[in-house]
């Protein structure tokens, strides 16, 4: 699975996710990536793209959950990402990347690593795996 989340200089957020799914999956199996609110979500507050155990991400409506705790609990972006990865996955394994309309970027995962990269206009740039 691959994904990208962006907030542009007008503060507009967007998210995109694409995948081949699970190796050896049954034909016809749908994962989290195409499900809005599970693998992908964007609103006026943030943009989120998820990856990992699709069934757990779907049950946890993971991408929308980040926006929801920001909206209803007033959490900041990284706090929301960490909360959702720790509290909404049950035993599932997954990771996600997110941006907020005020130019923040965050990621969280409970797997043995996630291929990821992020950058901000202020000059921060990081590419990581573990």
């Amino acid at each position: 699975t691959v994904g990208c989340v962006v907030v542009d200089s007008q503060g507009r957020c967007a998210a995109a996710t694409s995948t081949g799914g699970l190796m050896n999956k049954r034909s016809g199996r749908i994962g989290d990536s195409p499900l809005i609110g599970a693998g992908t979500y964007a609103c006026g507050l943030c943009g989120v793209s998820c990856t990992g155990e699709g069934e757990a991400i779907i049950r946890g409506t993971l991408a929308r959950e980040v926006a929801a705790v920001m909206e209803y609990k007033g959490m900041g972006l990284q706090e929301a990402v960490s909360y959702v990865v720790e509290e909404r996955l049950d035993e599932g394994k997954a990771g996600l990347i997110a941006v907020s309309s005020n130019g923040e970027v965050a990621c969280g995962f409970n797997t043995t690593g996630m291929f990821r990269g992020c950058a901000t206009e202020a000059g921060f740039m990081e590419v990581g795996i573990w």
């Binding site: 507009r12 995109a16 990992g52």
Partner: protein, 195 residues
């Protein structure tokens, strides 16, 4: 107004034994995609165009599990899916079950922009792609040698593998990496195999 920001991912769940050269290869691709997005943001492209541009680049490179280099079904074929969402008006588009569309994310974008729907799948999505004139290729284009080997592994282990990038080493090494029964949602993965 705060500045722009961008993040990309290539999948979670990385084999701890991934060789350094493969790690470097992954980092190079991530950095290239980040820079592609940064250049577009510096040219004032809107966020929705930038996410589509970057994911297209990731789909076209066989390194990660999407587009070319997608994981294989139990039948050894590729079935891809994608979704895109634009924050300001929460418009969205999604596709599933694609077998011949070169860039699934662009078809998801067309579902969002050119159809009254949010989600099209399988033959309906393929028909829509033909009508929209997006680039279509045969299913073989998406299949890589490495993934044929991974599917063999998964069948031997009778399991479903995630976005693991198992090292290229010989099968004996790979089979070691699937000996530990994989858990999904806290259950042995074999529970799902019949599913």
């Amino acid at each position: 107004m705060a500045g722009w920001a961008i993040a990309v991912h290539g999948g979670a769940g990385v084999d701890p034994n991934l060789p350094l050269d493969r790690q470097e290869e992954a980092k190079k691709l991530l950095a290239r995609c980040l820079n592609l997005g940064i250049d577009a943001l510096r040219s004032d492209h809107p966020a929705i165009d930038v996410v589509e541009l970057v994911v297209r680049e990731l789909e076209s490179d066989p390194l990660f599990n999407s587009g070319r280099g997608s994981a294989l079904t139990e039948d050894g074929t590729v079935e891809m899916e994608a979704s895109i969402m634009d924050g300001p008006k929460r418009r969205c588009g999604a596709v599933s079950g694609l077998t011949t569309v070169k860039n699934p994310i662009s078809l998801a974008r067309l579902v969002m922009d050119k159809s009254p729907h949010s989600y099209l799948a399988f033959s309906g999505a393929e028909e829509f792609a033909r009508q929209q004139g997006v680039e279509m290729v045969c299913n073989d284009y998406f299949i890589t040698e490495e993934n044929v080997g991974m599917l063999k592994l998964a069948k031997e282990a009778n399991s479903i593998l995630f976005d693991y990038r198992i090292p290229n080493a010989g099968l004996e090494k790979c089979s070691a990496s699937v000996e530990t029964p994989l858990q999904m949602n806290g259950l042995p993965i074999s529970v799902y195999a019949p599913e």
